[in-house]
């Protein structure tokens, strides 16, 4: 029973979520937040694989999201859209082709991670951080200069694919895909990192010299680890593009990378459950702080003294969230979970579920 309890719980909650979305029990806004949470979980858990488990410091994760988003958007417009002429594939095949398109986007993003992983053979820490930022800029600038996919004006037309799905069955399709890809992400990472093969990643983090001497092919493991992380981020990008229906290179800039990093550090380095929890908290917080009423309430002592000042939520949000990070780093530098999993922090939970 304990072996399947978590799976059952997840399936039930997914069916509940999809059902509520389908019968309009939750409105579009809540659905949007739920999907953003799913995408952020994919981003934080995949970055956690590199920054947490492998102990490398990269801060250009949005670059891979960008590659995945553009590749899958262009493919989906080719296959089902009318922007580049007639659709290549019949609209009926969309349910099979769409996940394949997302996976292709992820695969190309994984290949693009070689731009970071090959330099990581010889550099690490701050130097690798600089390389990863450079790669982030390279990819954004390259796409900005590709006029055939819109350049800096952005690219759209992916909604055709989503409409094609809705034509087949009128349901919350994007929610379904986000949830399934999110589970796939967590599942892949968990299984990889728990195998003796994947523990080579932790060995590199803790002592790279010892890992190399004790027969771990460190370069190969680094490439594989970067590819998994980038590939999953690419899938997240593809989903993001299809939810919004529009992509712009600037939405994958260093700010987006920083968001992913904040989630990893908030959750605790190397903790999968920490990355998930912090992605949920962080996304919720972003949404809560969008409310002008809450910001006004929080800042009422200041606005009482300076009545002329009218703080806008959109700006103050970006004061509050970094401040939160400062406070967390000051009082709990290891993050919410440290490098432990939920079942290590609350050993009693082990009775109720097993997650391998």
């Amino acid at each position: 029973m304990t072996k399947y309890s978590l799976n059952i719980l997840m399936v039930v909650s997914v069916i509940l979520l999809l059902g509520m979305a389908h019968f309009r029990l939750i409105d579009n806004y809540i659905q949007m937040v739920a999907m953003t949470i799913g995408i952020n979980i994919m981003m934080s858990t995949s970055l956690n694989l590199v920054n947490g488990n492998m102990g490398e410091f990269t801060c250009g994760h949005a670059a891979f999201m960008c590659v995945g988003a553009y590749i899958s958007s262009v493919l989906s417009v080719f296959c089902f859209g009318s922007k580049f002429g007639d659709p290549l594939l019949p609209a009926a095949s969309v349910l099979i082709v769409f996940p394949i398109i997302l996976l292709i986007g992820g695969f190309v993003a994984a290949l693009s991670s070689l731009l970071v992983s090959v330099p990581s053979f010889k550099t690490r820490d701050d130097y690798l951080a600089i390389i990863s930022i450079a790669v982030n800029y390279m990819i954004i600038s390259a796409i900005e200069n590709m006029d055939f996919i819109g350049g800096s004006r952005g690219f759209q037309g992916m909604k055709d694919t989503v409409w094609a799905m809705i034509d087949i069955f009128d349901g919350p399709w994007m929610m379904f895909w986000v949830v399934s890809f999110m589970f796939m992400t967590v599942w892949v990472i968990r299984r990889f990192i728990n195998s003796t093969y994947g523990k080579g990643v932790n060995a590199i983090c803790q002592d790279e010299v010892a890992a190399e001497i004790m027969s771990v092919n460190t370069n190969k493991i680094k490439i594989i680890n970067f590819m998994i992380a980038a590939g999953l981020a690419g899938c997240a990008g593809g989903l993001y593009a299809h939810i919004i229906g529009y992509v712009n290179p600037q939405s994958f800039n260093i700010l987006k990378s920083t968001e992913a990093m904040v989630m990893v550090y908030l959750g605790g380095m190397g903790s999968l459950s920490g990355a998930i929890i912090s992605a949920v908290i962080f996304t919720m917080l972003l949404e809560v702080l969008r409310s002008q009423a809450i910001i006004d309430g929080l800042l009422s002592p200041i606005t009482l003294v300076f009545p002329d000042w009218e703080p806008s939520a959109g700006v103050i949000k970006w004061v509050m969230i970094p401040l939160l990070l400062v406070i967390v780093m000051q009082f709990r530098p290891e993050g919410i979970m440290g490098n432990r999993e939920l079942s290590d922090v609350f050993p009693r939970l082990k009775k109720f579920y097993r997650f391998k």
Partner: protein
Amino acid sequence: MAQSQTQPASAPILEIRGLTQQFGGLRAVSDFNVELHPGEMVGLIGPNGAGKTTIFNLTSGFYQPSEGEILVLGENTAGKKPHQVTSMGVARTFQNIRLWNEMSVLDNIRLAQHYQLGYGFFHAVFRSKHYKQREREVETKARELLEVFGLHDYAEELPKNLPYGTQRKLEIARALSSQPLLLLLDEPAAGLNSADAKELIRLIRWIHGHFNVTIWMIEHHMDVMMELCTRIKVIDFGETIAEGTPDEVRNHPAVIAAYLGDENI
């Protein structure tokens, strides 16, 4: 890549010919030669900074030699990365213990078999039959090894919580987990008191017989060397200054001069 030369019955496990290592203008090792035959236990001593650890680093593939060649079972290690050299059958320990401190003792032992896992990413993600079988084998082997080393009670502990002597023992166990033919021990008795050192002598002798490995060790405790080694090489400033049985070496004038200084100074 088998070499064309035919192997005699007691072909050397390790053969080093004319090994020279140059760090910029510094000659850390010059013209070093050694031949290790199966079942031997050989020592390497010398004053601080003589180049002993450099020789080990060269042998384990960590540095590429400036000149000379290193043959493991007749195969040249030139251009090989350390993990490839390890998979050829050379395992080593470190002067300062380098265990993976945030991983359980069992995982430390398991990971040394990384090169012979024989499955890749997709097997791990889909938990294929092959993966499950290999994982079971690796775990069984690791637990057996912990059992014979008397470390099975610590299997789930983190290495950093173990006493120093036990960490040394664990590092040797980890090296043996990769099933080496040749074990390089870099100052295994460093930081041990004399009781622990005696225990270590017993352990090394037992490993030598039980695992059927050839051992090459660096050590400063002369009593450990005298007890264990059949042959000792002495180097100073990268040059070989003496070679022979422990007794010959102990009374060799060059060795005394290297350790205690020249009386003419």
